[in-house]
């Protein structure tokens, strides 16, 4: 599966469009990590546990998107975009979406 933020896959041509595919995850912060992050907040700087958490969520969102594209018979996803939103206290949604295509 080729994944790209471009409109085409470099060096290949799109032969079929299969429409929008998306994957998302909603994950809550670990209570223990949240307390540590709260302490870290006093000195500021990177919250490493959250960075890791959101990275994991993003990987999973991409996996789900890829799965959906594969089911549709695609071998590439173009024009991929990500978005993150805070939907409730302590929970964030990470979404990935793109256009499933067949390239050759």
């Amino acid at each position: 599966m080729e994944l790209t933020t471009l409109e085409t896959v470099p060096g290949k041509t799109i032969t079929r469009h299969l429409g929008l595919v998306q994957g998302s995850t909603v994950r809550s912060k670990h209570a223990g990590k949240d307390i540590l992050a709260g302490l870290k907040n006093i000195v500021g700087g990177e919250l490493k546990s959250y960075t890791a958490l959101l990275n994991e969520s993003r990987t999973e969102a991409v996996d789900r998107m890829v799965e959906q594209a594969r089911d549709a018979g695609a071998n590439a996803i173009v024009n991929i975009r990500f978005s993150t939103s805070n939907i409730a206290a302590g929970a964030a949604e990470v979404m990935a979406y793109g256009t499933a295509v067949v390239v050759s």
Binding site: E2, L3, T4, T5, L6, E7, T8, V9, P10, G11, K12, A37, G38, K40, N41, I42, V43, G44, G45, E46, L47, K48, Y50, T51, L54, N55, R58, V62, I80, R81, F82, S83, T84, S85, N86, A88, A89, A92
Partner: protein, 154 residues
């Protein structure tokens, strides 16, 4: 008595913010400059694929992200500044650091996969500090930089 404890607590937090927070920020800027210098050979563009896209083997999605939080001093400084309005310098540096860090991490991933270019780069910011309990939590935000890494055909 309660009031005094609160004031002492506030001053301690403020002092930690001033010293630890500032030291953190200076160190982060030094690290960023170093990393950006090291990664200078990875070309990054927000535009589409270069015209000679045929020169490259197919692209690969690369992502860099970071969650960064304010310190207590930044918060107080921002609160005071917003009384008179204008640029809130303490938040400007925070957001700049977050974004530069995300870009650096994206470039590092591009280098790991052997790419020389990252094209069609998009930047995304999401605030993570909304709190439904009504109290104002410390500000933290996630920064993402992502794009398509291109590797020159051998």
């Amino acid at each position: 008595m309660d009031g005094i404890i609160q004031i002492v607590f506030f001053l301690v937090l403020l002092a930690i913010g001033v010293f630890a927070g500032r030291a953190n920020e200076r160190r982060h800027y030094r690290e960023l400059e170093q990393a950006e210098e090291d990664l200078r050979d990875v070309a990054v563009s927000a535009g589409r694929a270069p015209d000679d896209a045929g020169m490259f083997s197919s692209g690969k999605l690369v992502v860099g992200s970071v969650v960064i939080a304010e310190d207590f001093f930044k918060r107080v400084a921002a609160g005071l500044k917003s009384l008179v309005g204008g640029n809130i310098r303490s938040y400007e540096t925070l957001l700049e650091r977050g974004r530069r860090e995300a870009i650096v991490r994206m470039k590092q991933e591009a280098r790991r996969v052997g790419a020389t270019h990252v094209v069609n780069v998009r930047l995304e910011t999401a605030s993570l500090s909304e709190d439904w309990s009504g109290r104002q939590p410390m500000f933290s935000a996630e920064f993402i930089a992502y794009g398509t890494a291109l590797t020159r055909r051998a």
